[in-house]
């Protein structure tokens, strides 16, 4: 049986009871974070675009930012019965252009900053990260089969490869 596909567009959060195939297409500097509670069998994914919400602007889509997206993903999963202490995660994306030169351009490296910001959230919320594929100069597609637990990543030029299983094995 082919799993239902749940496309997780930019700045979106999707959650479901186990079964669907979650897909983050065309991750450039964005980060896809897959999450799973193996006991409650609740899965989710967020497609983060930027590290942090703007202090002076209301957040239109919580999934847009790492500091709102990761907590909201957990909240939505909790509504389906997930418990934060059991949630396992994997992340991919955070690519960047080839060379920024030196100096004040650090802010331009959105890919690295996104990866750092998502990782900081993962740590702050006490989540166990089982797989990480970030950085480099290639766009990625990330899939999370919540039936099998398998998280896979592919680039335009490389074959799909398994990153990890969130079934906790």
């Amino acid at each position: 049986m082919v799993a239902t596909q749940l496309l997780v567009g930019m700045a979106e959060i999707q959650v479901a009871k186990e079964g669907p195939l979650f897909v983050c297409l065309g991750l450039g500097s964005c980060i896809g974070l897959a999450a799973y509670d193996p006991v409650a069998k609740v899965a989710g994914m967020v497609h983060v675009m930027l590290p942090a919400a703007f202090a002076d602007k209301p957040v239109d889509k919580p999934g847009k930012f790492a500091d709102t997206g990761v907590p909201h993903l957990l909240e939505q999963m909790a509504r389906l019965g997930a418990s934060r202490s059991r949630i396992l995660v994997a992340m991919a994306g955070g690519a960047q252009v080839f060379n920024f030169g030196t100096g004040s351009a650090g802010k331009l490296d959105i890919g690295r900053r996104n990866a750092d910001a998502v990782e900081a959230q993962v740590q702050a919320l006490g989540l166990r990260c089982l797989g990480k594929d970030v950085g480099g100069n290639q766009g990625r597609t990330m899939t999370f089969d919540s039936g099998s637990g398998l998280v896979k990543v592919r680039t335009v030029t490389s074959m799909e490869r398994a990153l990890c299983s969130l079934k906790g094995s």
Binding site: M49, V97, K107
Partner: protein, 289 residues
């Protein structure tokens, strides 16, 4: 293949070269003139019935949200302004061939379009935010910046894995690999086509120098706008091919545009919002193509 074909050979021998209707080229040239005439823009559009029909359909798309239907292209020029209509003419002229896949760059259907349109929106946003260039000219330049890829694609088919391996092994950007393999890169091929089409000089420069804006001497703001628009588009993963984000970024271009790097995230958010707004135009494009 290396060194055996000149840029001119490549262009001459490529059967499926991109093309822009002469009426649309006349619209661009007219709209760029300091004494541009709305009536002339309408007349040029009228020379190509198929172009006029597509422009009209786009003018009536949800993007413009007009309360009543525009009935002909003359009215479109009056209601939307000649610069908007010029952009619609460009969108209508490029969409049919930009949605085709480009195997040489591992770009699937519509990906070349997504990337080009993203860069158009990004370059337009940067031109507006900085006031350094005409936003509509920046839009057109962004839309056309990668036309060289359309011509080069067929020559690079099946070579991408080896080219990426070379890029990684020798620590090169993708355009450097193109130059190593062919003697020229997609930006140079694009500029050659733009010259053949007799496009205004700033557009030719934006196409030629979009990866190396510092080499444009004297600097041209529209080149910097397209460079930054391209960076925004690549970063957001819009229409990435096998070459991915393997291109250099010029911090000097940012300085010339007087953009504070601290503003990066706000520009990214504004860029994505603008792109999503423009998607209302896309809704009608499939019918218009």
């Amino acid at each position: 293949m290396a060194g055996t074909l000149t840029l001119e050979d490549i262009v001459r021998k490529t059967t499926d070269l991109p093309s822009i209707p002469s009426a649309a080229l006349a619209v661009i040239r007219e709209a760029d003139r300091p004494d541009a005439s709305a009536q002339k823009v309408a007349e040029y559009i009228a020379q190509d019935q198929s172009l006029a029909a597509r422009v009209l359909r786009l003018a009536n798309s949800a993007y413009f949200g007009l309360s009543r239907k525009i009935l002909d292209h003359r009215e479109a020029v009056v209601v939307l302004g000649m610069r908007s209509v010029r952009n619609l003419a460009m969108v209508a002229s490029t969409y049919p061939w930009m949605i085709r896949p480009l195997k040489g760059y591992n770009l699937g259907p519509k990906q070349m379009w997504t990337h080009s349109f993203g860069t158009a929106v990004g370059a337009q946003l940067i031109a507006k935010e900085t006031g350094k260039a005409n936003p509509d000219a920046a839009f057109t330049a962004g839309l056309l910046h990668n036309i060289g890829k359309v011509a080069l694609s067929i020559w690079l088919e099946n070579k991408l894995p080896a080219m990426m391996a070379m890029a990684v092994r020798d620590d090169l950007t993708f355009d450097q690999v193109e130059r190593k393999l062919l003697g020229f890169d997609h930006a140079e091929v694009g500029a050659y086509l733009a010259e053949e089409w007799n496009l205004p000089e700033p557009l030719v420069l934006a196409i030629r120098y979009h990866h190396h804006p510092d080499e444009c001497d004297p600097p041209e703001p529209i080149v910097d706008c397209v460079h930054f628009g391209d960076y925004l588009t690549m970063s957001m993963g819009f229409g990435l091919g096998g070459d991915g984000l393997r291109y250099e970024f010029s911090t000097k271009a940012l300085q010339r545009l007087a953009i504070d790097p601290e503003a990066t995230d706000r520009l990214v958010a504004a860029f994505v919002a603008s792109y999503e707004e423009y998607e209302k135009l896309f809704q009608d494009l499939d019918q218009a193509a």
